[in-house]
Amino acid sequence: MTETRRLTVENLTMELDGNTIIEDVSISADRGELVSLLGMSGSGKTTLFNCISGIYDPTKGKVFLDGRDITGTTGNMSYMLQKDMLLPHKKIIDNVALPLIIRGEKKEAARKKAGAHFSRFGLEGTEEYYPAQLSGGMRQRAALLRTYMFSDKVALLDEPFSALDTITRRSIQSWYLDIMKDINLTTLFITHDINEAILLSDRIYVMTGKPGRIAGEVPVALPRDERDNFDMREEFLDYKRRLMDLMSR
């Protein structure tokens, strides 16, 4: 099992200041798969992400990337938050190129590499701007591009679109799915929005309780590119009912 999957989390437990935040969590994701973690706030989703990305060293359990044990080490996968976290003192191009520079590439080469993706991410012409000069949606796209520059294997997205208005959010979601398919990126996605989870995911893990545990797993059978108007259909409501059921248990 471990060998074939891109990302595997095994029996992860994390204690912080004597409190158990998450307990015995096991999840996995394949190449190109979008997996959601659905749960109410306080169920330990963000703590789980911090363990996977290596900011925290978990109390128990292991994290594997392509079968390699990466528990407690950083620099393996990209992480994106609800806040875009663009550095206000760097131009957009330098923000986006930052992961490459951290990895040790020369500034000019990193800028060139990052610049090559600007048009695909709908950011052309913004290279020399500072983040404060862009709109929220554009900043979020710049943050996504930075995430992508960092790792083309796994992206951890922690409620990345929840600060955007509905229309910007819709367009950025479908755009993200396109990009993901293009580059065969694995995405682990935190959300507390059931609709968003069903619309975007291949599989959904429901996380509940204190300490947080995985209450259940729901695969969404319909292929991602056939989901236009999915939320108007009967099946959508079935999924929603099942998820609600799991969450309230």
Partner: protein, 272 residues
């Protein structure tokens, strides 16, 4: 897409704003001139602005010679103080025991007035430049350490975490986030510092030395040349102002993003 930057209105407001201090300064000078011209205050006690300017022009070469010495002391002292202060702040930020051990000591040293240690420094190090430079270093050190340290500590934790997930080293986190985040605090510290540094140099020269504006000051005081006294006070003010201006220019050069952020901020305030 690209938000239009509204600059025009700010510029107009800024221009009309700079007129006011000029008016008040001119008014003060006019009252001062009137007080002496009409003999309300005898001119040997309070020289008029015109006398002061005359004295300034008359002694210009001498003043410049002394100024050169004072400026050199200020420059060497400030640069040393800033470097030492910055390194100390970095050390205290990186290593908590250093913070806990040094911070109280640094605060205590600041409660000792410069006027009190200056004569001691002159006694210990003689009439040359050394005591002046040491005094300036002591004055400069504190605002820089406190400012920079506060800057380092106020950095957004999420930004640091983000860089950590990228696998950044401590040096990289400093170079890409902490350094820039601490710049505003650094420059406020530096602004306070440069004005104090000139005054510190003059104070130390006052207590003993061979050249410098403070030495010039004690000489003209002894000969009751009040017009020259005022001329040198005027020169010290101008120099302090110019140094603050220099720091402001340096800040604008070092922080080009500040302007972009401020403009957008103004615009957002306007649309709300």
């Amino acid at each position: 897409m690209k938000e239009e930057l509204r600059t025009g209105e700010k510029r107009i407001r800024g221009n009309s704003g700079t007129i006011y201090p000029f008016i008040s300064i001119l008014a003060i000078l006019a009252i001062w001139q009137a007080l002496t011209s009409f003999g309300i205050v005898p001119s040997f006690m309070l020289p008029s602005p015109a006398d002061t300017i005359k004295a300034f022009i008359g002694d210009f070469d001498l003043l410049m010679m002394h100024l050169r010495v004072t400026l050199l002391e200020t420059l060497v002292g400030t640069v040393t103080g800033v470097c030492v202060g910055y390194v100390a702040a970095c050390l205290m930020d990186m290593w908590d025991p250093a913070y806990k051990a040094l911070y109280p000591v640094i605060v205590i040293t600041q409660t000792i007035p410069a006027v009190a240690i200056a004569p001691l420094l002159v006694l210990w190090f003689g009439y040359n430049m050394m005591p002046k430079i040491i005094l300036i270093v002591l004055i400069t050190f504190f605002p820089i350490v406190v400012g920079v340290l506060d800057g380092f500590r106020s950095v957004d934790k999420d930004q640091i975490n983000l860089l950590k997930t990228m696998g950044a080293t401590r040096w990289q986190i400093f170079r890409h986030v902490k350094f820039q985040s601490a710049l505003p605090n650094f420059f406020s510290g530096l602004r306070i510092t440069v004005a104090y540094a000139v005054v510190g140099a003059v104070l130390a020269e006052w207590l003993g030395g061979f050249a410098g504006l403070g030495v010039y000051m004690t000489r003209v005081k002894k000969s009751f040349a009040y017009d020259k006294m005022f001329a040198v006070i005027f020169l010290i003010s101008i120099i302090s102002l110019l140094l603050i201006l220099l720091v402001n220019i340096l800040q604008k050069k070092c922080m080009p993003w500040e302007r972009a952020n401020n403009k957008t901020h103004n615009q957002k305030v306007r649309t709300e």
